[in-house]
Symmetry: C2
């Protein structure tokens, strides 16, 4: 671990080397999720719910000849996404403010549609898919990628860590979302009228032979995400402070040299 650990040389947050490594790390997750999404030249592709553009650059780079329209409901997020695309010299993406439930495009106007980490936040994911499908040309594909917090397990097992994760699931449900949506992609796509639906799990398996994943995924992605809702979970009375602290310690324990951490994303593709 030492060659990947924090060095004494940096004080203000991450060193340049650390930052480069975390970017590599993100690229590895990008590879796991996106490597098999490639659109042909001149394809018109709608990315629905691009947020701050976390997936947009990878998506556009993997299909340099395709033309992307990346929409989000938040103008603030779009500003970040635009700046990010500009910084990365990505030129085949047009950003546009739009709501998935009120799409400002004619029916059958896109060759393909791509949705990543969006359905988990929507109260009516099936309706969103049906609306997106209507904008697809016949024969076009609809690709959906989602995580599933209920797929999480680790060694050593820890009941309080599972309770902490359950808080995240409960809070997301109260906000109208569904943190267990990954496992549902097959029925969601099928019920939205897509055919030839194929879903493939993408498990992130992390042990200490993969130190970049221990740091980049177990600690700085998943554990940080759970930790981030701590105050909210405590304020909502979902958990007491001692259990929460114990749960967070349990998650950190899984990132130790003899620990193991598993999380599964799902990718589903259907044809109209």
């Amino acid at each position: 671990m030492s060659s990947h650990g924090r060095s004494d040389a940096y004080v203000h947050g991450y060193s340049a080397r650390e930052h480069a490594r975390l970017v590599d790390q993100a690229a590895t997750l990008t590879e796991l999720l996106h490597h098999d999404t490639r659109y042909p030249p001149d394809a018109r592709v709608l990315e629905a719910g691009c947020g701050v553009g976390a997936q947009t650059v990878a998506l556009a780079r993997n299909s340099p000849g395709a033309r992307f329209t990346s929409i989000d409901v938040s103008p603030q997020s779009l500003e970040v996404a635009r700046a990010r695309a500009r910084a990365e010299s990505v030129e085949n993406v047009a950003f546009q403010q739009a709501d998935i439930f009120e799409l400002p495009f004619p029916e059958e106007s896109f060759d393909h549609v791509f949705v990543c980490f969006v359905l988990e936040h929507l109260p009516r994911p099936g309706e969103a898919l049906a609306r997106l499908r209507s904008r697809l040309k016949p024969g076009g594909t609809l690709t959906v990628i989602e995580g599933d917090h209920g797929s999480t397990f680790f060694h050593p097992d820890d009941a309080d860590a599972h309770r902490a994760i359950d808080c995240l699931v409960t809070l997301q449900a109260r906000a109208g979302g569904n943190a267990l949506i990954g496992r549902q992609l097959f029925p969601l796509l099928a019920q939205a009228g897509m055919r030839d639906v194929k879903v493939s799990p993408r498990m992130v398996y992390v042990d200490s032979s993969r130190p970049a994943w221990v740091e980049g995924f177990t600690r700085n992605t998943f554990t940080a995400m759970v930790e981030g809702v701590g105050e909210h979970a405590l304020a909502a009375g979902l958990v007491d402070a001692a259990t929460w602290a114990s749960g967070m310690a349990g998650l950190r324990r899984a990132a130790e040299p003899d620990g193991v951490f598993c999380y599964t994303f799902f990718k589903g593709v259907g044809v109209k």
Copy 2:
């Protein structure tokens, strides 16, 4: 599903067609778990805990030039394994009654060791691995495959189904085993002194686009296995009858056309 369902034509158990399909099904799981285990010609390989030979035929067929010694502590199981190998015309396996904790072989007498679905039943899996390692020549590999019942999740989610699975985990723990051992292969192999340990998860993902897996894995393997401990779990007071029935209904529900079922096996390989 109808083309894969039971036909009216058979009354006494499975029809020939059904049987052929289940064999295909097992072959598919065999492929998932064993396709990347290939030993060179003349390699001496110890299969420790072969049981009734469920893995032995696939193992021996994948490495026709290697010479296997398949041991089990149970003479009755070995008789079944021998008959199975004979029926399949497998000729590169010698069966022998032996205990993993009292191996009747000199140190460093095998080129490779293979262990599948054995550690989950042992009270001291680490000690078993250490003993097996001692019989390995330097540079040889130790391959371990185990499931992990805690990796199970499904759609629709069902708390009683999880309770039923937990009964299986509890009963296995009371019998001295560990049904959550799959996730632990990395630390177990590392602590046994193996180096270059690589663990890969093998997720069985089942939705109704894979009807052979719905029938062969979700229903006839996993659900049947849980159902099989029902009387024991009830007698031990781990669960009440209503919860158990509800849990079993929940598992069967995941095999319906809009259901999804996920289970993960782990394969670990280390070098001496």
